[in-house]
């Protein structure tokens, strides 16, 4: 039996569709949103769907859930190509293209134990060096690769 050409996922009434996620990153997006599956939300996850632009892509549809600014910023780091569609009554009422932030401020503590911010009890600011896929603490200068940085964010946010 051949592989079906189309995968039908029903429309959602109210909620969020995150489209054009780089293939294989859908579960990381769910982690950002703190979704483990036991919340009772109706969720559709499509992995490795065909994409004319990217070849393959992932899609996440979530019924009854909208994204905060903070969540959108972190999704932009993981999935810089993503588009976020807000759905109300089956219609797309807003379409947002994410753009990776240049700075992430006041979200997490610096992982460097000898960064002054750690000892002053303040959250630090990271500058995102997009060309090098690294994040840099603007105080101590510590640089962290993006994937590690995202992991630190998610851990510190308890996700």
């Amino acid at each position: 039996m051949g592989v079906a050409k189309e995968l039908i996922v029903s429309k959602i009434k109210d909620g969020t569709v995150i489209d054009h996620i780089p293939a294989g990153k859908a579960f990381e997006v769910l982690r950002v949103l703190g979704i483990k599956g036991s919340e009772g939300l109706r969720i559709a996850i499509v992995i490795n769907a065909d994409s004319t632009r990217f070849g393959r892509k992932d899609i996440v549809k979530i019924e009854g859930r909208f994204l905060s600014k903070e969540e959108t910023a972190i999704i932009a780091l993981i999935a810089p190509t993503a588009t976020i569609n807000i759905i109300r009554n089956y219609e797309v009422v807003e379409k947002r293209k994410v753009s990776p932030p240049k700075i992430i401020s006041g979200l997490i503590k610096c992982p460097n134990a000898t960064c002054i911010t750690r000892h002053e009890g303040i959250l630090t600011t990271f500058e995102l060096l997009s060309g090098e896929l690294r994040a840099k603490c603007i105080y101590c200068g510590m640089e962290i690769p993006y994937d590690e940085f995202i992991d630190i964010i998610l851990k510190q946010l308890g996700k």
Binding site: T114, C115, I116, E120, E132, K136, C137, Y139, C140, G141
Partner: protein
């Protein structure tokens, strides 16, 4: 009587700042003076070539005739807040300020302050900011000077923040190369020692991305290699360098050997320190195999990495280097705290 609104700077330019002679230096000098005034000194990366050369020329001037500026900063107060021990940097800042007629307040250890009672760093900075016209800060944590500069209204000078930077040391290192070697671009420079934790190395390398030497060797034990972020940064700025583990391989090529101490106090693990302790030593025997005019520099203090038998030789530039700390810091304070004008509008 000497006027603080000095017109000596145009003479200074005509005398030694050749690069700018072809330009309308009066206007440019006003720009440079404005760029320095009330400025924080947090990282070497904040400075460009024109600004550093301008600082060096004023340092020449301070070195030759600091007496002419003896009332320049009269009535100004410099707060020196050293949360970490220091001899040269602290005393040279004090001397630099006093020679310009200013006053100094401050402390040189946490034990003698309310920090020992648990006072927050930011509260200490706020207090000093209200007492002084500028702050010089040394602290064991990276980013302390930057945070202080955000809190303080007055200019903050970084005199060393953890393993991060020590920009005024790098300024005086570069000045020493200008003064004793006549420039930097033609030099083959080796930097040996603790390239991982020595903040002076980071600041010096950032400075060398501006004044690119002909050849640069980074010489260290494998465990003391330059940190990745610094290596990546200097590479991105087009600074060519070679990393070597044995100074013997390159000693004959060097014009300058910059020696650093192993920063024992910054090792998170004492066992790591034990592995590298005594792993290099600059001796008379090594220097004999170098060029006739090999110049040895060291930011000091030294422990055992630089043999005292070299002190009396023509190669020893480190005491001269330390002596430039006062005129260079005088020049910097004069520029930051004002009082100098070009006499041009």
């Amino acid at each position: 009587m000497f006027s603080p609104v000095t017109t000596l700077l145009p003479q200074l330019y005509e005398k030694s700042f050749n690069i700018l002679v072809v330009l309308d230096y009066g206007v440019l000098m006003n720009d440079l003076l404005a760029q320095f005034r009330h400025r924080d000194v947090i990282s070497m990366l904040d400075f460009n070539r024109d600004e550093l050369e301008f600082l060096f020329r004023l340092t020449d001037r301070m070195l030759d005739s600091i007496n002419e500026y003896r009332d320049l900063l009269k009535g100004k107060v410099l707060a020196i807040a050293f949360f970490e021990p220091s001899t040269r940097t602290r005393l040279s800042f004090e001397s630099a300020m006093l020679k310009l007629g200013g006053s100094v307040i401050g402390f040189s250890s946490e034990e003698s302050t309310s920090v020992a009672k648990g006072e927050r760093f930011s509260d200490t900075i706020r207090m000093l900011d209200s007492y002084a016209d500028a702050l010089v800060i040394r602290h064991r944590y990276e980013g302390s000077a930057k945070l202080a500069a955000e809190i303080a209204e007055h200019p903050v000078i970084n005199a060393g923040d953890g393993r991060n930077e020590h920009p005024t040391q790098a300024m005086l290192d570069l000045y020493t190369l200008y003064r004793l070697k006549g420039g930097i671009e033609r030099l083959s420079i080796g930097i040996i020692g603790d390239l991982k934790y020595a903040r002076v190395v980071n600041s010096l390398l950032y400075g060398l991305t501006i004044f690119k030497p002909r050849k640069l060797y980074l010489i260290s034990h494998p465990l003391l290699k330059l940190r990745d972020e610094v290596r990546r940064f200097i590479s991105s700025k087009g600074l060519q360098f070679e990393e070597v583990f044995d100074v013997n391989e390159v000693i004959s090529e060097l014009d300058v050997l910059y020696v650093t101490r192993i920063q024992k106090e910054r090792f998170p693990d004492p066992l790591e320190y034990e592995k590298v302790k005594g792993s290099y030593r600059v001796t008379a025997d090594l220097v004999r195999r170098g060029k006739e005019d090999l110049l040895i520099l060291h930011p000091l203090p030294r422990v055992d990495e630089l043999d005292t038998s070299l002190d009396g030789t023509r190669h020893a530039g480190y005491f001269k280097q330390a002596s430039f700390g006062v005129p260079l810091r005088s020049a910097l304070l004069a520029l930051i705290l004002g009082g100098l004008t070009s006499g041009c509008s």
